[in-house]
Subunit: 232 residues, 2 copies
DNA sequence: CGTACCGTTGAGGTGAGTCAAAGTAAGTGG
DNA sequence: CCACTTACTTTGACTCACCTCAACGGTACG
């Protein structure tokens, strides 16, 4: 899922131009990288650290929908949509972020079909029906949503120690809650449950998972509802 | 939001080629246009009628997420994602649908920057954080979600009679439920409520709305929760 | 050693899901 | 045109997961 901007089959001159126009900035925890409602003029790419994307609806309810990690892009949806930002990006941890202005990107896209294709793919795969629903669908318990989030975060941070997987959460409990469209209290209760059953050990922001397959099983094999839901 | 494939600034020869490769098929209510899990080879465009897009998760829970109306496209996300279809498309009403194969589209996209731009925009605007959450966020009551759905459907079917807006629902109650991530019973109760308060009159699949602004107000001005939800 | 968050726990309330049954359309075939 | 079937819709009673509110325990930091 990661989407670096990498030297592919590009003209060195263009790459140089891309590099020269690129701006790298450092952000501290809590800093906003861009804000919902402002005009999208380019895209951002994380060199290090973590950021959180969240959307605020007309009821002032905030829902986080993506954790952006090292090497990943953000802001592209609004840029290509030729619209204002539909979300706010905020640094979860100190991070370095580079910015690519729209004009340069558009030029490269026109010139190099492969570059365009990569963006088409990124846009198309981003937030398809698949996830999102798994993290926020209310027919799934907070517990299962949490397990799915853990698995998602594990994809990006494979760290093994002594046969068990270890995951360092880059965020607060309330951010986890926002990602699951739940409340911090509910998250705490779900964590307690998983803890007691030995599925995962939580120690502050460090999560230890003894057996990944148990987690995976739980994430995808809850009993289906008995009654179907639509005219399918 | 509608996305016709129209004669823009294209080469007549290419348009001819596009037309010649296009296949138009007729579907009856309930027919599947494409199925989740199958390979996406092109895009579909509705000439008439309505279709419903729904996704089935690993718990066999079905969530509808889009009603496709006249002139709108579907299947493009999976095609550009170079992936299997992430949803199933099914005809809500009898409809005529034309199919454009991928190769032709890709050729046109490479050749005409404006054509590419339109697709970038379509992809980027489709299912951003904005809607979706309004229709399925569990912090919003089924009633408000229903009101939002009505407003969404009204956008495409403006029909005025005697000062009141009239909307003909192209779908069953259970499909509405699937769109709201709710149950048909809950939808029925929400409908009853709106009925009793005179906000909207439901008669089978015909909805009459005396005052649009009341509906609109309700859709966006519910009291915000007292406690914020994340470290924002 | 306060102060200020963050995280956890408990008690209580509620919206919406589940289940079951009755009511209403919409076909279909005689 | 009327039985008859089938599918869709609504209602009521019950249950439960999660939210709300409130209080308490932890940890970091000046």
């Amino acid at each position: 899922m990661r989407q670096h901007i990498r030297a592919g089959n590009f003209d060195p001159a263009d790459l140089l131009r891309l590099e020269s126009t690129m701006v790298v900035s450092a952000y501290n925890r809590g800093d906003k990288i861009f804000s919902q409602g402002t005009k999208a003029m380019g895209i951002y790419c994380l060199r290090s650290g973590h950021a959180l994307l969240w959307h605020e609806d007309s009821f002032q309810y905030k829902t986080a929908f993506r954790v952006v990690g090292h090497g990943e892009m953000m802001g592209y949806r609004s840029m290509f949509g030729e619209d204002t930002h539909q979300a706010t990006a905020q640094a979860l941890t100190p991070c370095d972020i580079c910015y690519y202005p729209k004009e340069i990107l558009m030029q490269l896209i026109e010139e190099f079909p492969n570059f365009a294709r990569r963006f088409f793919q990124t846009l198309a795969r981003d937030r398809g029906p698949r996830d999102g629903l798994l993290l926020r669908g209310q027919h799934i318990s907070v517990r299962i949503r949490l397990v799915n989030l853990l698995l998602l975060l594990m994809e990006n941070e494979p760290y093994e120690d002594d046969g068990a997987y270890v995951l360092k959460l880059p965020m607060l409990r309330r951010d986890i809650a926002a990602l699951l469209s739940a409340r911090p209290e509910s998250v705490a209760r779900a964590i307690k449950e998983l803890q007691q059953e030995g599925v995962a050990k939580f120690n502050g922001r460090t999560v230890t998972i003894p057996a990944l397959d148990i987690l995976y099983k739980e994430a995808h094999q809850e009993q289906p509802p008995l009654v179907s839901n639509a005219s399918f």
